[in-house]
């Protein structure tokens, strides 16, 4: 069963972006997200779009990968755009029918919203295309590390993520197996009313819960048997230290978002 694709489309290509520290890449994502929401003039949306294509090329990846990430969400984006356009308030009315009002301001607002959300997804996809699930989980742990000082259980949270990632393929295989077994007993997952079909998920969910609880128990015993004593005193295998190239990339990101900051400040 080929399952890497499900976890956010990691596409290794050996580029330097792939090799960059995941922690810094995640911080860059936050920077870009923050900047995109600060933008006042719409032309900057296209600027960020261009930047994302540029980064994609630096990562030696094809545009089709990006589009693949957007595809499932396209419907929602377009729907949001249409709904926003139809029901937003504004002065310059362009077209009216009943309580549906399409105004110029409304259209602009919808467009901006659409661009913000699309860009967000594009940059998040860039992150998952260039960072493997394991690296992402390490990166999140590193980003959360400062929270240790407010007693946030960083290690436990990170271990939970690692284990969850580890078992996703297993769970998918089990769902498949249980589904086939219940179908063989006459359970119907494809026909019938919505409520009937929802009820039919009970024979899948309950066994899955039971298996998962048993699994958690056995896994905990196995971990203890391998001397797991919690996060205290634990070292990490192959932890890449951040290097000069990582910091340079972060600095470059700061430079890239500078126009957005300027734009925001100039409108104050």
């Amino acid at each position: 069963m080929v399952n890497e694709i499900i976890l956010g489309q990691y596409m290794p290509s050996g580029s330097f972006i792939h090799k960059t520290s995941p922690k810094l890449k995640i911080l860059c994502l936050f920077l870009f997200t923050f900047s995109i929401f600060l933008i006042k003039d719409s032309y900057l949306y296209f600027y960020f779009l261009a930047v994302s294509i540029f980064v994609l090329k630096l990562a030696k990846l094809k545009i089709s990968y990006l589009l693949r990430g957007l595809k499932p969400l396209i419907f929602i984006f377009v729907l949001t755009f249409i709904l926003n356009a139809m029901f937003s308030e504004g002065e310059k009315i362009l077209w009216e029918w009943g309580f549906i009002k399409i105004t110029a301001e409304g259209l602009i607002y919808s467009f901006r919203f659409f661009m913000k959300v699309t860009l967000l997804v594009i940059y998040a996809t860039l992150l998952t295309l260039t960072t493997s699930p394991v690296e992402l989980s390490d990166g999140i742990e590193d980003c959360l590390a400062p929270l240790k000082f407010v007693k946030f259980p960083v290690h436990e949270f990170s271990l939970m993520m690692t284990i969850a990632l580890r078992f996703i393929p297993t769970l998918l295989a089990e769902i498949d197996k249980i589904k086939r077994a219940q179908e063989a007993r006459g359970a119907n997952f494809s026909e019938g009313s919505f409520i009937a079909r929802a009820k039919n998920f009970v024979p899948i969910l309950i066994p899955l819960f039971i298996i998962s609880f048993k699994r958690a128990d056995e896994l905990a015993v196995a971990m203890e048997s391998r001397c797991y004593m919690g996060g205290e005193g634990r070292t990490r295998f192959r932890r890449k230290k951040d290097g000069l190239s990582d910091y340079l990339l972060f600095a470059a990101s700061l430079a890239v978002i500078y126009p957005a900051l300027v734009n925001y400040l100039s409108h104050l």
Partner: protein, 293 residues
């Protein structure tokens, strides 16, 4: 056969009793267990379902503590809390379900779990991961995703995860029960290799009788007590009826010689000991037939 007297005792049960609940009148899962396993030995534990095999195994790495009596691992008392992590480091435990032992997404990351827990420096972890993966034959797959391994490979990874602690003792509780025929074969070969090359003391719990013959010592449990502790061939020579009391069967060669002896042949102990190999067994039978024995 190595003598216990000359060999260091790694596992020592002294008048051990165990029950899961301390309520009055609750039954004992293990009664009056006295046995020992020496360094470098392979002890195979057999018995019917519910005979206490798994319970006994879990007393070896402090997952359970005796209700009465003492268990000593390389001289350390398991009921002494101060010894807990030293014992857990010495005793590597491999469970039945390969799936529920693997923590990491990538093979080498999972093998590194135990050394990470022990707080070892990065270069030492690297050495141990390579050592453990090589010992189980997964070094070439160190960057694979664990989800893509077969059942047998996952179980080998579980063994590697435990070898990375450099344990003195390896305990395996029905390690092949959930594997297919090929997986079973590969695990048994690996266990023998570990015992012979790495000189680790091994305790193997199994219900596959062919595996019972590979050990230095066979321990048979029934309803929580030790009914037999000694060489495997002596146990199986006792005959079908005796063994079926424990809901076990004789390995094929033993059953065959047993039946032939019942009908007038007179095979002896050394014949039994070679009965595992079909070619040798055929030879023995042929000669017996020809010589009218």
């Amino acid at each position: 056969m190595p003598l216990i007297g000359l060999m260091k005792v790694m596992i020592d049960f002294k008048k051990v009793y165990f029950r899961y609940s301390n309520d009055e009148g609750s039954p004992y899962a293990l009664c009056d267990i006295d046995l020992s396993v020496g360094r470098g030995e392979l002890a195979v534990v057999v018995g019917a379902n519910g005979s206490g095999k798994s319970t006994m195994a879990r007393l070896l790495n402090c997952l359970l503590i005796p209700s009465a009596g003492k268990v000593f691992i390389d001289g350390l008392d398991t009921s002494d809390e101060a010894n807990l992590w030293s014992i857990r480091k010495k005793v590597g435990f491999v469970f039945q379900n390969p799936e529920n032992q693997i923590v990491g997404t990538i093979v080498e990351n999972d093998a590194a779990f135990a050394p990470e827990n022990l707080g070892l420096p990065e270069d030492e972890i690297e050495r141990r991961v390579s050592y453990a993966l090589e010992a189980v034959g997964l070094l070439g797959r160190r960057e694979f995703m664990t989800a893509h391994l077969s059942g047998g490979q996952k179980q080998r990874l579980a063994i590697a995860g435990v070898l990375a602690m450099k344990p003195d003792i390896l305990v395996l509780d029905e390690p092949t029960a959930m594997l297919d025929a090929r997986g079973r074969e590969s695990i048994i070969k690996l266990i023998l290799k570990i015992k012979n090359e790495l000189k680790i003391t091994v305790v193997l719990i199994t219900h596959f009788m062919e595996n019972a013959l590979v050990g230095d010592k066979l321990i048979c449990l029934e309803k929580g007590s030790v009914r037999f502790a000694g060489p495997a061939h002596v146990f199986f020579m006792k005959g079908r009826e005796y063994i079926s009391k424990f809901n076990l069967k004789q390995p094929f060669g033993y059953e065959l010689i047993n039946r032939l002896n019942e009908s007038g042949f007179s095979f002896c102990e050394s014949d039994y000991m070679q009965a595992a190999d079909p070619e040798i067994l055929s030879d023995i039978i042929f000669r017996a037939v020809k010589n009218g024995r």
